[in-house]
């Protein structure tokens, strides 16, 4: 009897994994703790549970397959609630990314809602900000290279480079976890991008707007010297979920 159950369980798990279409390679990330630039109370380390993350950002070709399957996410059908007017604006049409975009370049001009939905339909989810930063602090050899001058110089030099979003995925360095393009290609959506309290608007250009945000004074940047990371958080803080821009893509993650 229990033998039979074992067999059925095995098959169901098999069907599960087939349905989740695991053809996109994911890297396995060990759990651990780290002190992020932003978000830790009183500089206490944040705990990250083990998880998997796509080794590349989602590409034009992959996103095209998604909109073909879910046409309500195509450019002309996309609801205004879920994406602004520049959604997929670089594509030639609803179901073609055209000749000006590489099939293996990262998809950009996608909103948070679209990115979230894409991952859900893959049986995955967007990484949390802590997860993303945890993976992104690794260089080729170390899991945490944030104090290395060269590493920070590399990231900052990318910020100055124009149009890297048109490059193919996988051309930047492979990091400690086997993940590519955390720096050097595009910015990426995270599940909880809207948990940041830095106002991006110049009319409120204070780090913590006490009137607009409750308790915002108690979350502070732990290391303002880390300018590269600060830029990322400031960028996320300026986003709204329906925004799309040409240098912002995403990748998916999954619980272990």
């Amino acid at each position: 009897m229990s033998q039979l159950k074992k067999i059925i369980t095995f098959f169901l798990l098999l069907i599960n994994s087939v349905l989740f279409a695991q053809d996109v390679k994911m890297a396995s990330i060990n759990g651990g703790t780290f002190v992020p630039l932003y978000g830790a109370t009183a500089k206490k380390p944040v705990k990250v549970a083990p998880f998997n993350i796509d080794i590349y950002p989602v590409t034009n070709a992959q996103y095209l397959a998604f909109v073909k399957k879910y046409p309500e996410y195509s450019r002309s059908k996309m609801k205004g609630l879920y994406a602004d007017k520049s959604y997929l604006t670089q594509w030639e049409s609803d179901f073609s990314y055209g000749k000006n975009n590489l099939s293996n370049a990262p998809i950009t001009n996608v909103s948070w809602f679209a990115a979230k939905k894409y991952c859900e339909c893959e049986g995955k989810r967007l990484p949390t900000m802590d997860e993303w930063e945890y993976v992104a602090m690794a260089d080729e050899k170390r899991s945490d290279a944030r104090t290395k001058e060269e590493f920070n110089k590399y990231i900052l030099s990318w910020y100055e480079k124009p149009k890297t979003y048109a490059n193919p995925v996988g051309q930047t360095f492979k990091n400690y976890w086997g993940v590519y393009d955390m720096h050097g290609l595009v910015w990426e959506w995270t599940a909880d991008f809207n948990s940041i309290f830095l106002s991006g608007e110049s009319r409120k250009d204070k780090d913590t707007d006490k009137n607009l945000f409750c308790g915002s004074g108690s979350v502070n940047a732990t290391d303002l010297m880390n300018y590269a990371a600060f830029m990322r958080y400031a960028f996320r803080g300026s986003l709204k979920a329906s925004y799309t821009t040409k240098n912002l893509g995403f990748r998916c993650a999954k619980d272990k």
Binding site: L81, C214, V219, G237
Partner: protein
Amino acid sequence: MLKTNSFGTLPKPNKMKLELTQKQKEILKKGLSCLFVLSIFALFFAIQGCNKKEAVNKDKSVSDLSIYNLPSKWTNQNGQNIEMKDLRGKVLVMVMIYTSCKSACPRLVADMRNIESRLPENIKEHVKLVLVSIDPETDTPKRLKEFAIANKMDGNQWEFLRSTEENTREFAAVLAVNYKKIAPLEFSHSNIISVFNAEGELAYQQEGLGVNSDETIKKITEEAVKLN
């Protein structure tokens, strides 16, 4: 989640969590047969989670910008399960709060009460004032009910909602409300009151605490008068 367990000052949510872990233990004991059931569930939810939204998206009758496109399910202070679109036809005044908040929320709640009290009598029946919890773990329907009564917001015009963490995060994204858990029972969050018209489209947002609500009331009235 575990951290909140060791946080002993609030007995109600604690009790609930203990029950949960006992339930989980029982489930674990069932062993293999449970694995079997779980994988069916995983399968079911995987398909559900992805397809659910399209079903709603196909609903042509609501506009492109309407929050009634959102498929998420919510529970109110009376324990009733509702979807956002059940509120269709009313002008909605929405804010995100949590009941254990000591700093900004009491003022936000006061702002909501102030707005409600200043609404013209002839439009009141067309307006719903909705308070959405950003701490669904703590804010059970029972707790929301107690909060409603304690704050004299127990009339039919008041709706207190909670859902899953994920739905809450999504709804906050729609309202452009940012929030972050900074400790058990403590959150940072934006202080924004949003007005939606009867079709669920954003009509106005009031930002900040204790600000003048004249413009907000004007917008609510404008939208509600259309329904008379």
